[in-house]
């Protein structure tokens, strides 16, 4: 039976890719793409970097302006969905109106989590997720000589680097013993922390945020868990995100950390799919249920979900990858490092360009690189092919790891490439 109408909720990387892939895979019916923001869909990663640094902040569009009309994608911008009726197969909008659907794709993403401390409602306390947040940060910067970044994760460290480059005095608060602790090996954490400190950023680890204090409604200082007091005219919260599951939960869809989906990205409701930051699923590479927050995950899942939705299932075998630009350090990661028991270094950290290959037993789990993109690209292919380089070879700077890929298609890194 043909599918007449597909609705997609969410206009981030996942939602837009889902729309593009559905059309590319030959879907001819009606296609609605619904988002709360009024801007045309745009790239999120530059918000923590160029969007704050450039003289004139410019959004980088995900697709050209005429993409939506050309591909008959009905873009409903500035529209909030207030309820999903899975049985009746329809959406309700906050301001009234309903939209029926044959298939629904939820790409509702995630939002910054705020700490449960006094003062988060003061002016000058911000988080970063979208254009409006980016503009608020820009507006706050001129009067902010002292910036405190709460959370030494990716967004926190990227923002800290940006603020430092803009001449601000920056302190990062990280409750864990090291920055990026949940994401990367201790070696990479230490290296990036050293670089950040060298660029003038102060890093306080092992202590969280206790309170934010202000005067006349504006932030003035913060207090750490161990009693230190730091001046701040701007406080940026980067302690992680929570998935936007409320719509799905109210509709009775199963969730665990995010909206639970199966290998075909189907939720517990018939004909409703979920992709991107909001979807939790058993990852083929890690063998456990997880939720990934990345552009690559969003777009690759959206492509796969579109294929499944149109009855052309192909197993989801994308290798997760990620990047984070912090000052002049480019961190790239590929794979998923759960329970590594051995980290092997390739290259010299002192040189500012090196890689960490993470193993469990003799299985390669992930590769983290700093300013060594060729190791990163190699890692994508090794992990896709299930090849683990012998440890002695990784340590040997003269060994050509590419020789391990002989017989593998050279272009596999571009296998997922599609045109817009």
């Amino acid at each position: 039976m043909g599918i007449g109408r597909i609705a997609i909720v969410g206009t981030g990387h996942a939602g837009v890719q889902a729309a593009a892939s559905l059309r590319q895979d030959g879907f001819e019916g009606e296609l609605f793409l619904i988002g709360e923001e009024t801007d045309l869909p745009y790239h999120k990663p530059p918000l923590s970097k160029t969007f704050l640094k450039d003289d004139v902040p410019q959004l980088q569009l995900l697709r050209p302006e005429d993409f939506y009309a050309r591909n008959r994608v009905e873009l409903l911008s500035g529209r909030c969905v207030s309820a999903i009726d899975p049985a009746g197969k329809r959406l309700e909008f906050t301001h009234g109106g309903v939209l029926s659907f044959d298939r629904l794709v939820l790409a509702t993403g995630a939002r910054p989590r705020l700490p449960a401390v006094p003062g988060t409602d003061l002016e000058g306390v911000l988080a970063l997720r979208n254009r409006a947040d980016g503009l608020a940060l820009r507006a706050a910067l001129p009067a902010a000589g002292d910036v405190v970044v709460v959370g030494g994760g990716f967004i926190g460290m990227e923002l800290a680097s940006t603020f430092a480059a803009l001449g601000r005095s920056v302190a990062v608060l990280e409750a864990a013993p090291r920055i990026l602790g949940r994401a990367v090996s201790p070696l990479i954490s230490d290296h990036l922390a050293d670089r950040a400190v060298a660029s003038g950023i102060r890093i306080l680890t092992g202590t969280g945020l206790a309170a934010i204090a202000g005067e006349a409604g504006r932030v003035r200082r913060i207090t750490t868990g161990d009693g230190q007091s730091l001046p701040a005219q701007l406080v940026v919260i980067g302690i992680g995100v929570e998935p936007n599951v409320e719509l799905a939960a109210a509709a009775g869809l199963a969730f665990s950390n995010g909206i639970a989906v199966d290998a075909a990205f189907r939720t517990s409701a018939p004909d409703i799919y979920a992709v991107g930051d909001v979807a939790s699923y058993e990852h083929w590479l890690a063998g456990r249920v997880l939720r990934l927050e990345s552009v690559q995950n969003a777009t690759d899942q959206a492509r796969s979900a579109a294929a499944h939705l149109l009855g052309r299932p192909a197993p989801f075998r994308a290798v997760p990858w990620f990047w984070s630009d912090q000052g002049d350090a480019r961190l790239q990661m590929v794979g998923l490092a759960y329970d590594p028991d051995r980290d092997v270094v390739r290259g010299d950290p002192q040189s500012g360009a090196f890689s960490v290959f993470r193993y469990r037993g003799d299985r390669l789990l992930s590769i983290e690189t700093v300013n060594r993109p060729s190791d990163h690209m190699l890692g994508r292919k090794l992990l896709a092919a299930g090849i683990a380089p012998p440890i002695a070879m990784v340590r040997d700077a003269g060994a050509d790891l590419r020789s391990l890929l002989e017989g593998e298609p050279k272009t596999s890194a571009r296998a997922a490439v599609v045109s817009s």
Partner: protein
């Protein structure tokens, strides 16, 4: 403003007026040039903005940075001297008339 030209594998020409500071990829995506995707937004992570340029234009653009070089080597069987990643080409006024040949997606 800098006007550059994209040529498709079938020979179709498309002139695009680039804004100051834009990259070749950004100009292409804004104008909807087929074959230039820029999936990573210009972070030199995806190689979906591959183009080829003449020797003269290559010289005008200037040498590849290490990251562009390594990315090209990683995804192409043979990196010809003509290959560039258009996200790494910042469009300056002196690049007026630059010709970027779109490469068919492999």
């Amino acid at each position: 403003m800098t006007t550059i030209v994209f040529i498709q594998p079938d020979g179709t020409r498309r002139e695009v007026d680039a804004k100051a500071g834009e990259s070749g990829m950004q100009a292409a995506v804004r104008a909807g040039v087929d074959g230039i995707v820029g999936e990573c937004g210009g972070a030199c992570m995806c190689a979906t903005c591959h183009v080829q340029v003449s020797e003269a234009d290559d010289a005008r653009i200037g040498p590849r940075e290490a990251i562009e070089e390594e990315m090209l080597e990683s995804v192409l069987d043979d990196v010809s001297p003509a290959s560039r990643l258009s996200c790494q080409i910042k469009l300056r006024p002196d690049l007026e008339g630059l010709v970027l040949n779109v490469v068919e997606v492999v």
